[in-house]
Chain length 455, copies 2
């Protein structure tokens, strides 16, 4: 006899949506969260002028239907990311404005980028979303790194420099650090590359008024404090035929099933009794989290708009490699959101905050002019240092991992089920994928509870 | 005020040699070991006829001077691995005997293997052992996988098949799963490829009478039960300016310093308060352990010797890919030691023991004739399933990891120092490297104790 039906580990979108679905079905559920807040990789902060900004995952695309549905159900409002005017790209000290699909590259490089994109999307079509390891060319695609594929397929240095900025912008990791199969799976999981990269019509189209962390906050408020327990890092899961016992910092709880929603690398750090099978444990040894420091730089006005700029920029020259307009809906002040990604994040992570700010402001000044030199505020979030996330946006699979360990990503181990953005076949790594994974895990566990009459 | 000077986590060769050195210097030391035995990746078992066999690391080469010195100090005896007669290689269903340096390959493939080996060794010469990330061509070498390098440098399918067996035999991992820089570092760390692969004159030249686990057993006996505590898995390390507190399953202990000697991936699973810096934590997320199932197959006699065979064999066709003669010194029975490695180990790990045994015996029969079909005994050790090792022989670094995280392998974090075979610049991954790392960490901590007058 267990105390409850399901214990959920992690109060991010995956955990809270799983708990919500189970609770709505009449299951006794409890959510244990290590932090003193919910929302995991979503996190809200406030500029000194009171404007809320998103320090974690923030954008929602129109095809991210599950998270959009949730936003609506919870009474939150979305608004369009500012996307008027021209973008800029800085490469070899030359700043190029563009309003077309050239990404500000030379004609030859733009054409080459387009050719490579088409080739990648054609390859991505061959990947199985539900079982990437069973794709037709899985072993050939998984033995290559993304870096190897680009270098085998083009000699254009400008095109290479562009991809070497785009890939970290999408993964917070370098091209050599993931398998081609993983990259292709991710592209197909999102639909196509244009959707991943795009603002209007893409994954960066919408924002949530007040910030995305409110989705989790409202889910947690619905469930209530009796169900969602904060400051409760889990240490161990004992599991067997009769149920699970979860030991956390302030006690323990028994349940018929557990749903673990924390990133795989962190899930691997819990103590399991009995120990996990090699396939699952081996996976958790090699699905590292991305490296990103996200910054919000505030100005008294969104001055770049007056110059006809959208705020969207790539610098292929600088540690700060991508920026977008992140001003509040009323434009009452100007905010640029920007990222140190991958290798840049690892280097910038060793700097002081002052050094990061100075580096960021110098880059923004190159991109948007001298008005960028005097921000009124600067906020940053180094996700690599977050003990209970240890990197964003998510976990990636290096060469060989999908084909040899992929099945263990979401395959239950006894009464332990796995969720989280990394386990979703649609919008893997995104808020939408997290929500889908929560629903999937709740359905799995619900079906087992039903069939055994355990509840 | 702390209870002792140094707490050592892990009673393998690194931990016990560190403790021994500190104890000899008059330091108050304690070793906590998770298992009910010492010796970590060394482990002894006994055939049903009473003959001891090594289920973990077993061979010692003449240039492995630190472990040889230790063996002598502890009164253990070595003997030569049986290495008379011809070796065999099975490729495309053809069995080739050879007594020269061709590895049983066709002339063209043997020449190509030699050319590639020379190229690798020339590249390895450019690698810095103390700081691989600072090697002249570090970023170029670290962005490539070993798989990519081989495929870029040869089209000979037989030579490729050979390297695809040799690399897993050395690393328990596939060529795509590690960076070229890691492979080159490892070659230089051992001296050269011939030494890594070789029996006489190489890393497989000597065995220890009774088994290598006795090295740790004798070290532990010297230190005594008051110092070495078994069945004591460590859960958390709290550390600060004043010292460390280590919480283990049955209590806690305070010390001025800690030396953590368990593999990096397992070290990452302890809870640290405060949490570890991103550079160290990120490393532990991406240094997976190798995959190996080691088997010992016993026969009433070493019958292959009568046929003029040494027992050394490669099969490029089978899951069981490498074998050696592992008979006792008096030849009173015949023992073949063999390995499922890398991808083969991951597949064979899902089979039943009966299936593994049948597969192994079928391969041995192809290699050594029908007499191999009737073993008198079969022992196996699946290191991937070992909760407190989680893979052998050791941790490897994939593309990009050395250059971005390598410095964190042995750089202390506050009062926590790191040891273990993965942290050694000489004979990295081997028993000798483990011993060297124990001595290095003991010297580091000893110097800090001296300079602060803390002891």
């Amino acid at each position: 006899m267990t105390e409850i039906d399901v214990v959920v580990i992690g109060a991010g979108l995956a955990g809270l949506t799983a708990a919500r679905a189970l609770h709505a079905a009449g299951r006794r559920v409890r959510v244990l969260e290590a932090r003193d807040r919910v929302a995991g990789r979503n996190h809200g902060d406030t500029l000194s002028n009171g404007v809320p900004v998103e320090m974690g995952g923030q954008w929602i695309g129109q095809t991210q239907t599950e998270v959009l549905k949730l936003v609506e159900q919870l009474g939150l409002k979305t608004f369009a990311t500012y996307d008027n005017g021209e973008a800029v790209t800085l490469y070899n000290s030359t700043l190029t404005r563009y309003g077309d699909e050239t990404f500000g590259l030379s004609d030859a490089a733009a054409e080459e980028v387009g050719r490579l994109q088409a080739a990648l999307e054609a390859l991505a079509e061959t990947v199985s979303l539900s079982s990437p390891w069973a794709s037709a060319q899985a072993s050939e695609l998984d033995r290559q790194t993304v870096d190897e594929w680009f270098r085998t397929n083009t000699d254009n240095p400008e095109a290479l420099a562009f991809w070497d900025a785009v890939v970290p912008a999408l993964f917070s990791a370098e091209t050599a650090e993931m398998s081609l199969l993983h990259f292709l799976f991710y592209i197909k999981s999102a639909g196509m590359l244009d959707i991943l990269v795009g603002v209007t019509g893409g994954a960066q189209e919408l924002r949530v008024v007040g910030g995305t962390h409110q989705i989790s906050e409202r889910l947690a408020a619905e469930l209530g404090d009796d169900i969602v327990t904060l400051d409760a890092p889990v240490h161990a899961i004992t599991h067997g035929d009769d149920g699970v016992r979860v030991d956390f910092s302030r006690g323990s709880i028994t349940a018929a099933y557990a749903i673990v929603t924390i990133p795989p690398t962190l899930a691997g750090r819990l103590r399991y009794k009995p120990a996990l099978p090699a396939a699952r444990d081996g996976l958790t040894q090699q699905i590292p989290m991305g490296s990103v420091i996200k910054i919000q730089v505030a100005y008294s006005t969104p001055f770049w708009r007056d110059a006809g700029l959208s705020g969207f920029a790539f610098s292929l020259d600088d540690p700060l490699s991508i920026t977008l307009d992140n001003s509040p809906p009323d434009g009452s002040c100007g905010v640029i959101v920007a990222f140190f990604e991958g290798a840049h994040a690892r280097i910038a992570g060793r700097w002081s905050q002052e050094e990061r700010r100075a580096s960021a402001v110098a880059t923004l000044t190159k991109l948007f002019g001298t008005q960028a030199a005097d921000p009124i505020d600067y906020l940053e979030q180094n996700w690599m240092e977050e003990e209970y996330t240890r990197g964003c946006y998510g976990g990636r699979l290096g060469a060989g991992v999908w084909t040899q360990y992929g099945a263990a990503l979401s395959e239950p181990v006894g009464r332990i089920h796995w969720a989280g953005a990394e386990t979703s076949d649609v919008w893997n790594g995104y808020m939408d994928g997290a929500v889908r994974s929560g629903h999937r895990a709740a359905a799995e566990v619900g079906a087992r509870l039903d069939s055994r009459g355990e509840s």
